[in-house]
Subunit: 306 residues, 2 copies
């Protein structure tokens, strides 16, 4: 692949990535890794696409709740629907990550995963990010998309390991990242198997199956993949366990931590982002032999051209 | 692929498989399915390898328990260890499927998945089936291995969806079926993330996470794959929900049910196999448009040459 990472500046981070991929894919190199073991895991929110001022899935949730309220107006008088309908960002920001996910699941019940995917895919066709004024599905980080493509064309199997809803991310991951549903691991609700109109279906239940964050990411990597990643990429303390797990593997490995330090082009935040802070990973990742990616210094462009 | 299924007799079952694969892989055919959606799910015990007189994993369990008793002889006086050490098949046969799995998990605790995989892989190198007098890893059904290879070379992604332990099957699936760990779905125990000797590890816990049988197979297909299979293959009522789920998809699909009716070459059983009976699926699968495979009439050979 000629010039595989055009949207990365030619500074040490890019070189570290190129060196790593070259080493593990070169057959006579001492760090060679057979293709089947080239597992790369990526966080999604804040790593592959933007997550501020709100997670993209929260924007989706707001629109879903508005649709529900339109059908059943009495909902608008009750919390948490009230805060959402009134776009009460201050109240929304006080919700924890887990609370938000449970709220999300509770607004997605009594439907099959296929019905949910249809709703999400329809939403992604036109929903627009309020700050970046582009479709949400175009709020991906171009250098990360190039990194995914570079890895995929180098025989890696790329996985998303996200705190976001597994079905929400699956509904769009193939289109924007080239990652098929079976390579998306995420937070999930329980399902019920039932017969409806003579057909077997699953129904999404308002009950958490897995909240895929921190150490749970490692457990889910084991459950879904069954191999230790050799490359792990994240942007918050919620990704640190996954990165430590990758770095403890016996062969060559690389961990990458995206630091949002570019208020002008995207955003600048770390320990102050209550929902998903970046605090200790900033110190820990370099100790793992990993690299902190500076959005400001490493990304030649942030978003894809549209 | 020339003559892709040499160990199948040229009778209607083989032709149905060839017709199906040709249809879904031919671009201008009305039933064409893009490669990404060519998902095939296979049960393992009794479908890809033999399961009688005992599940292969039970033979493994017996050897594990014997090793444990050798280290701690007082165990031999207690049930259920007693029945195992004494090879009391009659008592063992009274155990239910779920009981056996829980017993299995309880004998596999306080170790990492990597340590477990190492034990299983070592066992597979030399452990021999008492009836067939061949390595357990050679107790696979040759026609099914050919079917897997045919599907893989036709752009299918082949998954195992087994009631057996996910780590046990993963330890050997790549070698004998060409199926990587991330395409093995199975029964699983819970894990704990912990630091040991300064390294992050998972530890297998004696607690069931998922018993992957019947409707749970469908839930796990959704959790791990996120797409409905277009081909589902099984051999018992425990696989029926998975086959019904595949058959309810919107496009072309095929379901195959292996009937063990060959006492001479392998075994003959269905409703009388208490652990995993085949009763209603024999009637239901043809109603789904599926096919019952007769081992006696369809398999030109049963096991691979060794």
């Amino acid at each position: 692949m000629l010039n595989p990472l055009p949207s990365w500046y030619d500074i040490p981070t890019k070189q570290a990535i190129l060196d790593f991929v070259t080493a593990v894919t070169t057959e006579r190199h001492p760090d060679f890794v057979p293709p089947a073991e080239r597992i790369a895991t990526f966080d999604n929110d804040g790593t592959l696409w933007c997550e501020r001022p709100l997670l993209i899935q929260i924007f989706f949730l707001i629109d879903r709740i508005k649709s529900m309220v339109a059908e059943n107006p009495t909902l608008a008088t009750q919390q948490p629907f009230k805060a959402i309908v009134e776009q009460d960002l201050e109240t929304l920001k006080t919700f924890g990550k887990k609370e938000l996910l449970i709220l999300m699941f509770s607004s997605h019940t009594a439907m099959t995963p296929e019905e949910f995917a249809q709703i999400a895919q329809t939403w992604f066709k036109s929903a627009t990010h309020p700050r970046f004024q582009r479709l949400f599905k175009h709020c991906v980080f171009q250098p990360m998309v190039e990194l995914l493509q570079y890895l995929q064309s180098s025989g890696f199997k790329t996985f998303i390991v996200t705190g976001g809803g597994i079905e929400f991310v699956r509904s769009i991951a193939e289109e924007i990242y080239g990652i098929p549903p079976e390579q998306v691991i995420g937070s999930s609700s329980k399902t019920r198997f039932e017969w409806r109109d003579g057909q077997p279906n699953l129904i999404k239940l308002p009950e958490l199956n897995s909240f895929d964050d921190r150490e749970e990411k490692v457990k889910n990597i084991h459950l879904h993949i069954g191999r230790r990643p050799i490359l792990a990429v994240g942007n918050s303390d919620g990704d640190l366990a996954m990165m430590q797990y990758a770095a403890a593997g016996s062969g060559r490995h690389l961990t990458l931590l995206l630091h949002h330090d570019d208020a002008e082009r995207e955003d600048a935040y770390d320990r102050d982002f209550r929902l998903s802070p970046l605090t200790i990973a900033l110190d820990e990742v370099p100790k793992l032999g990993g690299r902190v990616i500076s959005m400001k210094q490493d990304f030649a462009q942030v978003f894809p051209p549209v």
